[in-house]
Every structure is written in structure tokens, then in C-alpha cells.
């Protein structure tokens, strides 16, 4: 099979190649009567759009979204929503080298091993260009969450590490995130990254990064006990983003170092509602949301396209070298922030509907029933 769909009840199917005429997605299962306009979606597209700073790919794509179906008089109708994004800047060039050679760190070799054919132009289906469709779908998911749960829902992301340089959580400011080209919540570190990434960019090198996502205003009860765990679906969602190599929830890998006393979040009441005294769990217990803020982090590997020549082989079975020219990001982690947010929104919207299907309209917390 080939799984280009994500989600169960709020289900997104994406399609399109980096250098094809267009890309897009079909969203099936959106509830009816959710307000939705192209402008709602475009707002989020513009955040992921390439070419916005010297730290991201210089490909110039307007990423203008068209709604082709499923919306009538400004509201969803419950039928599939087809979104289309035309590719504009597929720079024509000689593909001779990447046509035959496998770029190290890219999916060239594995696609070719699997399918015996590959659209090598700009990476074809394996290009991060596919994530434009995720961001578009994520915008619809946000409207679903805001309409069904309420405007208290906030889904936000930030870059917390670039190469060896990690932010100081004590400096965290959500305002800062929108005031630098890195989604950096630590204003001081943002300045440091600027110099650091300029150096990497000029050297034709690249570096990895860590993204942190948070969702607040999510009621307790979303998620399912065993294989439909909210955290399992989040792990799949984030790992499915290009170049991601690790995912963690709450304390994550640091939990391995903790004792049971440090790790298990104690509970008290506040205004008659359950309140946790810490959030090592990252808002998820036993695969189900607890009502706390949901905290997810993922690691992005460095861009594989770099200017140094690298040893590789070609599809005829010869050893050779390759140097990747063209437009690329010194740190693909930067543009992964809005993509991660979109995936988080998609998982939550899907689980909201899944919960409603099995359990019905929900109330949150210990006084739920």
C-alpha cells in the first residue's frame, strides 16, 4: 500500500511533487458548519512559505491556496475539502547529476530501491514541499478545534535548539517567537543564532535543530488506550515530517534519569477543578489528554544538501562524488516549526472527533460525569 493519508476521522490525503504543476490535499471528515475561507488558510501558509529570510530556501513560491470543494457560503458542508497550491518557481535546470546519482542523506537511494523509478526533479515526492499541504490542512484543523472546543485552544511552536546552541527556558517569551526569523522564544539566543547560522550558510554547511510545540486549552479525555494513544499518534505525526529523527512528550528522554517521585505529577484542586502540580507527563497519561498543556518536542537533522563533495554511488553501480547545488536551507528545522504546529492541530482535531464518536460530546475533568 502507500499511505499518503493522515488521521482517521479528520483525514487528510496529500499529493504532489516538488516540481510538478501543483500540490494539494483532500480533507475528508471535517464537521459541517465550520467557518472557513481561503484567507484563514493563507494566514498559516504565509508562515511556512519559502524565501522569507536568508536562512531558508530561496525558492519563490506564493503558496496561494484555492478551495475547490467542500465549502459553501463560508462554511464547511461536511463533504471533502480539496485544496490546491500551484507550483510556480520550479526553476528549470539540468538535472543530469541528481538524475543518476544518489544524494547522501536524501531519499534518492531508498525511493529507487523501493519503486525502481523516481521523479528526481527537486526530490519529487520526498521534497519538503509536501509540507505546504500539511500546513493548509492544519489551518482547517485549527478552525475545527476553535469552533468545537472554543477560542481558548492555542497551538504554538518554537525552535529551542539550533546545532549546539540551546535556548534558556528562563528567557521564554511567546512574543519573541514572532519577532525573529527563527521562531526563537529566547530573544538573546535569537541574536546568537543569527551569527551562527550566517557562518554555516556561508560555509555551505548545515546544522540540525529541535522544535518544541505546545497546545493549551485541550480538554481531558482525548486519546485512546492502546494503539490510538494521543502520544503515539503525535509521535507518528512528527516523525512523518521530513528530516525528523526523534520525538518526545513532556520530560521525554530526560524522564529516563528521573525517579518516580520526581516524575509522577501530583494533583490538587483549584476552583473545584483538577490541577497538576507539575507537567512531566506533557499533558498525556496512558495515551489520553489530562487537560494540562500538551508538550511535544522533535529533533530535525541537518539539511543533507551541502556544498562539500560527498562520496556516493550512481544507479548504474559506479562509485562517484556529488555536490548539491541549488537553493537550500542551512537549517531545515526553522521551517519545520509551522509544519509541526499543523501536525499537532491535525492530531488533536482527529482525536476530538474520534472521542466524540465513541463517547459523545464531552465535558472535561474529574467531574465529567
Amino acid at each position: 500500500m502507500s499511505d499518503n493519508s493522515f488521521g482517521r476521522l479528520f483525514r487528510v490525503t496529500t499529493w504532489g511533487e516538488s516540481h510538478g504543476p501543483a500540490l494539494g490535499c483532500v480533507i475528508d471528515g471535517a464537521p459541517p458548519r465550520i467557518p472557513l475561507t481561503e484567507a484563514d488558510i493563507q494566514h498559516w501558509m504565509d508562515q511556512r512559505k519559502p524565501g522569507t529570510s536568508r536562512f531558508v530556501t530561496q525558492r519563490r513560491e506564493p503558496d496561494a491556496v484555492k478551495i475547490l470543494s467542500g465549502v459553501f457560503e463560508g462554511q464547511t458542508t461536511g463533504t471533502p475539502i480539496s485544496l490546491l497550491i500551484e507550483n510556480v518557481d520550479q526553476r528549470s535546470k539540468d538535472y543530469g547529476e541528481i538524475m543518476d546519482k544518489f544524494r547522501p542523506g536524501h531519499a534518492d537511494y531508498t525511493y529507487w530501491s523501493k519503486y525502481g523509478i523516481r521523479d528526481y526533479r527537486g526530490g519529487g515526492r520526498s521534497s519538503a514541499r509536501e509540507t505546504a499541504a500539511r500546513v493548509a490542512a492544519g489551518a482547517v484543523a485549527r478552525n475545527v478545534l476553535n469552533t468545537l472546543i472554543g477560542s481558548a485552544v492555542q497551538i504554538r511552536g518554537a525552535l529551542v535548539q539550533v546545532g549546539e546552541k540551546t535556548i534558556d527556558p528562563a528567557n521564554w517569551s511567546w512574543d519573541s517567537v514572532t519577532q525573529n526569523p527563527f521562531w526563537c522564544p529566547d530573544p538573546k539566543m535569537a541574536m546568537e543564532w543569527e551569527d551562527y547560522l550566517d557562518g554555516i550558510r556561508k560555509a555551505g554547511s548545515s546544522v540540525g535543530a529541535v522544535v518544541e510545540l505546545r497546545a493549551s486549552g485541550i480538554p481531558a479525555g482525548l486519546g485512546e488506550p492502546i494503539y490510538g494513544k494521543l502520544d503515539a499518534d503525535l509521535a507518528a505525526a512528527m516523525m512523518s515530517i521530513n528530516a525528523v529523527k526523534g520525538v518526545e512528550i513532556g520530560a521525554g528522554f530526560a524522564a529516563a534519569r528521573l525517579s518516580g517521585e520526581q516524575n509522577a505529577d501530583e494533583m490538587r484542586l483549584k476552583d473545584g477543578k483538577a490541577e497538576f502540580l507539575s507537567n512531566q507527563a506533557g499533558g498525556i497519561l496512558g495515551g489520553i489528554s489530562s487537560g494540562q498543556e500538551i508538550v511535544v518536542r522533535f529533533a530535525v537533522k541537518p539539511t543533507s544538501s551541502i556544498l562539500s563533495p560527498r562520496a556516493t554511488i550512481d544507479r548504474f553501480g559506479h562509485e562517484t562524488d556529488i555536490t548539491t547545488k541549488g537553493r537550500h536551507d542551512p537549517c531545515v528545522g526553522i521551517r519545520a516549526v509551522p509544519v509541526g504546529e499543523a501536525m499537532l492541530a491535525l492530531v488533536l482535531a482527529d482525536h476530538l472527533l474520534r472521542h466524540r464518536g465513541q463517547v459523545g460530546d464531552f465535558k472535561s475533568g474529574f467531574d465529567a460525569r
Copy 2:
């Protein structure tokens, strides 16, 4: 909905509660004519079985597996394989306290928020007892892999970190793994862990851990481009195991610190076949296996059941304290090793069939077509 099934073509549905009469699973989609006996399964069950050392829960369960369907004269028939494991040692006791109070770090509060009812006996469905069914299903997956790919397939796991104590990779010995009660590949560290965990056990405390899994002999080409990525499915698989808070592939979170030069594995030929000069990718590129060893790690949080009293609330909306008595593991990470192996086998068997469905019987590598 409620997703107690795992996999698409090799599909396992598990059922059962910690203190119910039995638990088990149904495996749908196993290829026909795969050799399979109860003894094949029991071999792996015995490795996960509780009560084998003082470092794991003292519950006494034989975990004897019965095959109820799908096997005829020692071979699978292509019809569903139903496996049954009876619960024997559901120690009768007074559930008064956990019936009403939510244990911190457990799924008590979230199950109750979601469903408005919970089988509190031993954690009900959220108990790690469910993982017995995973290990049983994993044994069937191993037979599928060995029959369809060949006996070169090896799926193995080890514990590489307990609390703050991490193994030295230079000491790695697969033989060591079977020679201590911790699946520790570093014989020196195994001795250190013994003292360390005795201290934790006696203090009524607990500690987290990190498990590393490896699969070798897996051909290039397994996995799917976007949401069916092999690593995305592995991330979901591992995150779905009780108490897991993080998953990484290959270099994982460390990749964030690397440069593109360090990270992208170069390629050469050896005996006419593709060979990678390093394995930062952990055997997966663009979501598809490269033919290299597949490397997955996951972090397990410390057991939440500890002897110190913890602040919590009850289902009537009162603040209270709770102390968890009974049989528990000082480090649940230990028993997670065979469970992780089983999940890795399940993902690989599923992707083997998925690949075969779309592409047909496969050859591996750059000379595939």
C-alpha cells in the same frame, strides 16, 4: 473510535484487562504457510514473563499461550490467528483506595475523564499486562520475517540506560544481554545496575531507562513515502508502549547537534552492493529502509507506583494522598525490552506485506530493477 489494533496488512487486535479472566490478541492478515507452533510463541513469552528476578514485578503468571485458530498442521492458513493467555495470579485484595483515588503518573484520572467508568483493578486496560499480547503477536511476526526474508533477519534489544547510568557502547556484547537480568549489553554496567537498582527497590522508589533496538537483515525498500514512513510507524509503535515518553531513530536527538557533513551517510560499493560508510540515519531514509541496520531507541519513565505518599484527588472532588502498595517494578524499562522487540517485529512484518502489495516481491538495493 478506539484503536486496539496495530498494523495495516499484518494487523493485531489486542484485548483484556489486568485482572480479567484472560487477555489475548487476534492477528489478521498473516500470510499462509508460515510455520507456527505454540512453542515458538512461548519462547518469547517467557522472556517478558513477570517474576523472573527481584528487579521486576513479583506477580506470578505462567503466560501460557494457546492458539485457538488460524493454524492447521503446524502452518498458518491465512485466516485470523487467535491467541489466548489466561490470567492466573490476579491477587484478590481490597481495591478500596485505588477505586476512588487517582494515582499520580497513572492513567486513572484520564480514563475516568474520558469514559466516566474504569476497571480500576490493577489498572484495567492501562496495565502493562496488555504487552503480553504484543509479545505473542511479535513472535508470529518474527516467523513471518524469517520465512519471507530469511534467517538473516535479527531483531534484538538491550537496555542502554538506567536512571543516570548509561552503558559504554565500547563494551557492547550481545552475549552479555542474555547473561544478566537487565538485558544489559555492557557486562560491567550490569553489575553496577544490580547495586543501584537494589537501592532503589529497597527505598520503594523507581527509575527510568532507555531501550535500544536493532534489526539487521532487513532489505532496502520497506516503508512508504509520507505518512506511512517506516520511522513514523516505529515511533507510534514504541510510543504506544506503556510509560514510553520518547523515541528516536539512528542519531536521533543527537542529530540536532550535527552538521550536514557529519550526518549524511556516504555510500560506496562492496562486492557490487551499496554500502554506507556510517549509520546516522539508523537505516531509514525518507521513511524507507536503506538495507542498513535499523536502530531505534526509546525512553521509559520511572514506575509511577512508589511507596512514598503522593498528593492527589479522588473522584468525588476531594484532595487526598495515596501510597501505592502491591507488586511493582523498580524499573519498568527492563521488561520493556522484549516488548520493544515485538513492536519492531510487528512494524517490519506489516511493512513487508505492504511493500509486497504495492510493488510485488522485492529485490534489494541499487540493482533492484
Copy 3:
């Protein structure tokens, strides 16, 4: 793949062979807090049970159902419900002939062509014995429907044709259905069938039948526009029952003879609610329930096991003859009635949850919003 599961949100996975130790099913996705006991299920099992009259197979099976999981203190918990039915009367006998020869009209040849192995004992997985698990699952679906919609829901079936003998709809009496061994709603025809089937039974022959199912009390709005149409799912459900060769909704094949004027059901108001003046549609328009009675019919072929010798081949490639001995039904359509009812209940329960997931808790009719 191999699809032994039915339904999307209310999902049943069945397993087991005719002559294995047991059969059963796992129901995943049942809402929590639905009242459920073994007796609730047994009530419906007893209706399908073999050996109740001379017109059905003489195999003696108590078909006693055990609930192994998912129910706590008389209520569903939202976790998977595992149901087990032990096989008791697997009459030991010499399987020599059916081991090697393909019985005409049976699945022997096709299973063997597909899998290269088959459990030939009593038909293995292709035996109608599998339908016991459907009836058990259907009982749970009925409780879901009754709890979520209300006790006005009625799901009933009747046999309306046996061979060439069709009931007179003018004589229809639901009371009659329970007063003869044929589920016949026409008391006069029931008597006629008795003689007719005695003749067929004594001749070692068999005959086909038509079953009609009705569901009343179902709100408007269940079903989905395109491939998840309520009638499409009903068609699959009924066609999946052993020996079924045709399915129709409402006027069904007779609609081909009608004019648009005759076929399109007109609407009026009654007590402020929509009322249809006829029901050619069988309660479904555009794949979605209209609030009218849902009417489904399906055709069952004659039992293929008959006493006359039949020409066939064996698995070694020789022409031969076969006579099927043993316990069989002169008209398998009789026992298909409770199975059809169960499938109807399963489809409706699934669509109720699917609707709730996408649209939320529902009201019915033109004043729905």
C-alpha cells in the same frame, strides 16, 4: 491483507474455524457505560443456534458466550469486548474425501487456490459457523442502539421466500415470525413450507431463500454521502454472509420497472414532522437514512451440500465425484435470518458513532438545526 473485521468505529473482528477449539470476536469501539451481560447476548445466540428443528443442521452446539474483557460491573468500559464461544460438537470423522476433493458450490477450490493450504475440517473458516460470532456482536450493537437512540429501535427479520414459494405480504404478521421454525411472517405460508421443506430434506436436496430485514426507530441522518453510504455498507454486510448472492434496498430490483412518478416518495407533514407517503426508497436517500423504516432484502443460494453425487476434481488434478454426507441444512436461508438482523444492527451502530464523530449528537428531521 485479510479482512476479518467489520465496521469502522464500532468494529468487530471475528476469528475461528468450524472444527477448531473455539470461535469468537473482539468488539472495539463500543461506547462506555452501555449495559451488557452475557444473558443479553445469549438471548440472540439461542435464536441462531443449530439443532433447533429438523429444518436446520443437527450439529449440537450450546453456543454459550463468555465475555472475557471490556465489561465491568454490568457496563461496557470503552475497551475491547472479547467474546468466546467454545465448539463442543465437532463430530470426529474421517475427512478423507473432503480433504482432497473440492465440493462444488463450496469455497474449497477457491481457498486452496488462494492460500495453497486449507483447514478442510467442516469447511474451516468458510463454514457458516463463523456467523455465531456475528450474532454475538450484533447483540452488543443492539444494546448500543437501544441505549443511545432509545427503545423505539426495532431490528427484525423474516423469511419471505423459500424456493419458489413466496409469502403474501398482505398476510404479514410479526407475531407469526416467532411461531414457526422458519421466521415466516405469513402463517399460511409457514404451513406450506413445512411440507415443502420436508420433501426437499428427505430427497437430500436443498433450496434457496429470500430474507427481509427491517429497522424502525432509526433517526434521519445516518450514513455518508459517497462510499460510506448506509446502503453500500448494508450491501457489503449482507453479501458477506455465507451463501448470499443478492441484496436490495426498498423497491430494489423492482425499481428498474418503475417510473419516476411511482418511485420518488412524496413528503408531507404530520404533527410538525416530515412524513413520507410511500417507502420505495427503503428508508435511505443518497446513502443517508431518512427516518423511515429501513428495508433490506437478500437472496440466499441453496445449500451446496446435497446427497446426489456431483462431478468435481481433486487437488492432485484428477476428475472425480463427491457426495456430501453429514449434518446439513435443507435451506440455509432459515438460519440466515438472525445473522442478517445482527449485520443490520452492526451497520447501524457503526453509522451512529460515525455520524456522532463528524456531526455531534444528533436530532432528526427537517427541524434538525
Copy 4:
């Protein structure tokens, strides 16, 4: 949820409304290296296209298909194939009447009951215009079947009944099917239908029909035992087509009248291969193809849009009348023939891949292993 996808491994997701800017589909899971061009698809589109005779709707749509992704240098790549069909002739008109009133026999009332909103323009999503996407996807499925099985595969359909006028099977000629505007295989009946339908058309009335489909060259072994039965999936496929009210396989409803002796197809050998002496089964036994010709029939109800005024209600709860003006078909069954063929191709392509996933590349028949 909302299921606008069809198939498991060869999976088609359709989208689009009758009067929106475009409609289309995404095909996920097509094998790689299948030859495919826009012309291959257009060939089949032209057969379903409206406006080709006075017996079908006069809407003028070129139905030109664009391939937006998944094909590279004339071959499929294994990634999703996005197909786009622009709507051209959405005749602008006053929707005043159908905006508020529910047309009898249409899905107006049920969509509105379900979603509380509907795109009433031309029927929105419930319009048969959606079937254009099915025919496009079916063309891809045909290429898959021809490439993987071979050119012996033939998937054909014919109209065998219009209103009360049924063809004489003795006159069956496949050549005839392409020589009249009805897909009628009986040249004599074709002439009769011409007069008959002219009368119905002029009266502003409509009439139902029966379509028969046949697939030859299909190997034994496709289909799955229980809920994934080939006939169950065919039943769902056909019932999902607009206006279909009944489906049958092989002898179908007529099987209810047969004896076991008449019904069970005997077997002999021919040139060392299994041969059936009759085909009451319609090529499917136990849900699995037998290698015989697959025979499916479905009944189409008369067009609900007719010129006589009909009693109905409006969405404000008033009784009223409605007369449907505009472009409509006197017999929608005519244009259902290529749609039925497409659905048959889709089911077979899907089951071919499903079989290959579980069992591997296949051989057919009793000497399969």
C-alpha cells in the same frame, strides 16, 4: 467520519460538487511503473460524458482530465496520482426553489437532516457528477490490471433492462453494445428502447434499468474470506453508485428459486486446468474468485427529477409542491454502465494488490502451489 475513499491498497479519494469549480480524485497505492497517460484516461471519460445523445443529460462538459502528480515520463511512480476535471457548464440559474424545497427521491432532505447545511446547486456532492472521478480512477485501475495480470483481462458492461423491457440473452452481442446509445447488447431491443425512451422523455417522465457487468481473465484467488469478500466489496461498490437499489452476483436473486443440484457448479478438467460446467456462482465462491467470468448486475431506480409536480415540504416546515426543471436523464441507468465498469475495475485492482500483499505473486488454479 465521512468516507469519500474507496479501496484499501488501491485507494481512491474523490472530491467535488456538481457546480463547484472542479472535481477530481487522488489515487493512492498504485504500483510503480504502470504505463499511464492522460489519453488513456480520456478514452474512458468520453464514454461517460454527458450530452452524447438525446437520452442522457444535455449538460455540456468536456470532462478533460489532467494528471497533476504521481506520473513521471509516462509511468506511475508509486506516489499519489491526482486527477483534476474542471466543471465548465454549470449553467447559471435561479436556485430559489431547490434552495428551500426538498426534491422527492433526491438526497436533499437527508443531507440537510444530517449536516444542517447543503450545497443545493445541482445537488452538490450528491450529484452523479461525482461519478466522473470514478471513471477516471477506473481507467487507472484498468492499466494496473492489464499490466499485472495481462491483456486477457476484459471488463465490460451492458444495459440489460430498461423499465419493463428486458433484453433476450440469446441475442447477446458485445459488438452491439458499442453500436447504440444504450450500451444494449441485444440489437433488436436497442431499437425498441429508442421508441420507448423517446416516449418517456417527451412525457417528462423517467424509468429504471438494470446493468450487467462482466470481468474475464481474472485469476482464481482474489478476495478474502469473511468481510473482505470479493462479492461483498462489489456489492458495496455498486450500491455506492447514485440511484442503485440492488446488486446481485451470478444467479443472484434467482438463486433463491434453485435447488442445490441446479445451483452448485460442477467441475471438470480441460487441458489440465480446472473448468466449471456452469456459472451460477458468477465467478466467486466463499468470497474468492474462482477463475470463471465474474458476473455482477445492479438495478438503477428511475431519475427522480421529472416534470410532474410532486408533493414535498420545505426547510421551514411547510407543505408545498415542486417540479424539477432543467437538464436531466430519462434513464440514468444508461450512463451508469461505464461507472459500473469503473467500480468493477477498482475492486479488482484493489483485491489484486491485497492478495499480493498477503500471499505474494500468484498463480491461478488447482495447481497453484
